[in-house]
């Protein structure tokens, strides 16, 4: 029979089994691979695996590992460490009578901390299809990324093959899988390109599935990413994350939820923007024609605080189960605050919210922008105490945001802006049906909430929010 064994000198169990190795090499066809010293074991023929390629390709985690092959070279079975009985069963012969029955093996050098990524980058690089860009060692790595136009203005993490391979460990999906067509250049986008941009953005591999789902959602036709990019309006994509994964990766849904300081929030939103910039070619001054933009166009991502909420999450409202993890993409402007420290009943608080929601876009603008109302725990408590579900709040808001057309027509209030005069006699809703959504997030102290207004072309003429499960 054919066997191979992988050993390292710096392992007491490997030292222990040297007599057995010598016996096997005498009786069978045994190839010995040494991870740290080609002189070990002494007196036998050893193949140098100090580069760890064989160990990597055989996915060795423990030394010694003894592998049995059939005549075609296919692996039949393997044993790890020293277990006298297992070795005897595998080889079908009596072995190691002088040895103890059992000794655990040692860690393979191929699984030392940081080593799998290095080996993956070295030996699996053919799995990556992207062009390799050579940068002189004279150049500063981060400056080189700026010079090549890969940055949104902030430093990016240089996308070495090692980092990209490590990022790809965050998904079981194949690097070459195409997830969609990215505007404005209409370029096919692969998992690999998303992973490279996730590296640039500073993501951990565990965030990659969220980034992939965000890109997939953004590329759905109803989200209208091309128009959102090209518009002169303020908006850009906002990612709201729901479900257990948001908590597992440590996303912030509480204090400073729309601010800085949380790596997952910061880098997931940024990775999406970098995919649009680098893969799609969408850049300010190019197809991005926004007059102002908004600070969220660097990164705009947060999680809904579902813990202890009295409300269904946004994802459950959209038809997903509580155990599903989702992203919801919304074409979003910046944030506008609503301070109400005195309301203690839901009607009063809702009237505050409605007054603030009324001015989205313009106090006379209707059926144009969607909006997301981000309700803080202290404001949510008022609804909780009154037994109002999210839908009750939305129904009430939509009711009192039905406005007399006479207030909205051009010229009313001495303001030329407004809707056509013929609509003066109508009662008109501020938001399209389903255009107003609510999430619960923010710090536990503060009777403040927040409005995230949407693109002035919300709905079927422009962008419809898209929710997608993270896989």
């Amino acid at each position: 029979m054919n066997y191979s064994i992988i050993v390292k000198e710096d392992c007491a169990t490997c030292q222990l089994v040297v007599p057995v190795i010598k016996q096997l090499q005498t009786d069978d066809e045994l190839t010995i691979y040494s991870q740290d010293n080609v002189q070990f074991p002494a007196g036998v023929s050893v193949i140098d695996d100090t580069e760890l390629e064989y160990s990597w390709r055989r996915r060795i985690e423990t030394v010694p590992t003894l592998i049995k092959f059939d005549v075609n070279g296919a692996e039949i079975s393997r044993v790890v460490g020293w277990d006298k009985n297992e070795w005897q069963v595998l080889t079908g012969r009596p072995l190691g009578f002088d040895l103890p029955n059992f000794r655990p093996g040692c860690g393979s050098k191929s699984v030392d901390p940081g080593m799998p990524e290095k080996l993956s980058a070295r030996f699996d690089r053919d799995k990556l299809q992207s062009r390799q860009v050579s940068v002189s060692t004279e150049e500063d790595d981060i400056e080189a990324c700026y010079e090549r136009g890969w940055s949104d203005g902030l430093p990016v993490v240089p996308p070495t093959a090692e980092r990209v391979m490590r990022m790809l460990t965050g998904t079981s999906r194949s690097p070459e899988e195409v997830v969609g067509i990215v505007p404005p250049d209409l370029v096919t986008c692969t998992i690999e390109k998303i992973a490279i941009n996730a590296v640039l953005a500073g993501c951990k591999p565990e965030y990659l599935p969220v980034v992939i789902a965000s890109v997939e959602a953004a590329l759905q036709d109803e989200f209208c990413m091309h128009g959102l990019l090209a518009t002169t309006y303020y908006s850009g994509p906002l990612v709201i994350v729901n479900g257990p994964l948001s908590r597992a990766i440590g996303m912030n849904s509480r204090g400073n939820v729309l601010g800085q300081g949380n790596r997952a929030n910061a880098t997931i939103g940024r990775a999406l923007q970098l995919v649009i910039r680098n893969v799609g070619g969408g850049k300010p001054g190019g197809v991005d024609r926004s007059a102002f933009g908004n600070p969220g166009k660097y990164t705009y991502c947060f999680a809904e605080d579902e813990t202890n909420s009295c409300w269904e999450s946004l994802a459950v409202e959209k038809g997903f189960s509580e155990t599903a993890s989702t992203v919801t993409l919304f074409a979003a402007d910046g944030m506008q605050g609503i301070v109400d420290q005195k309301s203690r009943d839901p009607e009063s608080l809702s009237r505050s919210f409605a007054a603030a929601l009324r001015v989205v876009g313009h106090p006379k603008m209707i059926l144009a922008s969607d909006a997301i109302l981000v309700v803080s725990p202290e404001h949510e408590r008022i609804y909780r105490q009154a037994g109002w579900a999210k839908q009750d709040v939305k129904n009430y808001l939509n009711k009192i945001l039905t406005i007399d057309g006479a207030e909205l027509v051009a010229g009313a209030g001495g303001i030329a802006e407004g809707i056509p005069a013929k609509l003066a006699g109508k009662q008109l809703p501020k938001f399209r049906e389903g255009g107003l959504n609510i999430v619960r997030a923010g710090g536990s102290a503060g009777m403040f909430s927040a409005i995230i207004a949407g693109w002035g072309a919300s709905g079927s003429i422009g962008s419809i929010p898209v929710t997608r499960e993270i896989k």
Binding site: R131, Q132, S134, E139, P159, N197, V199, N278
Partner: protein, 91 residues
């Protein structure tokens, strides 16, 4: 040599490209940068004559010394005031 994986659509060449050239100089302000090499001013004077004859606006700049890169303030001034720049080498 460091190798990075290209994050882009790979439509542009790998090597950095110069900025796009203007189709013509009509209406442009042309900066003339003398790097302070001997006789660089003579070369620039002649270029300026030719450009002015074509009706173009020119602006003159001088680097303090040819031995060092231009001061950032000078780069910023030229970028703010000119559409294109011609830099003279002479001896």
């Amino acid at each position: 040599m460091t190798i990075f994986m290209d994050p882009t659509s790979e439509r542009a060449p790998e090597n950095r490209q110069p900025l796009p050239r203007p189709a013509d100089l009509q209406g442009k302000t042309v900066g003339l940068l003398d790097i302070s090499k001997p006789k660089g001013n003579i070369f620039i004077d002649r270029l300026e004559d030719l450009l002015v004859q074509k009706g173009l606006t020119t602006k003159r700049y001088i680097k303090p010394t040819f031995t060092r890169v231009a001061p950032i303030e000078l780069n910023q001034q030229i970028a703010a005031e000119c559409d294109v720049v011609i830099e003279s080498l002479a001896d």
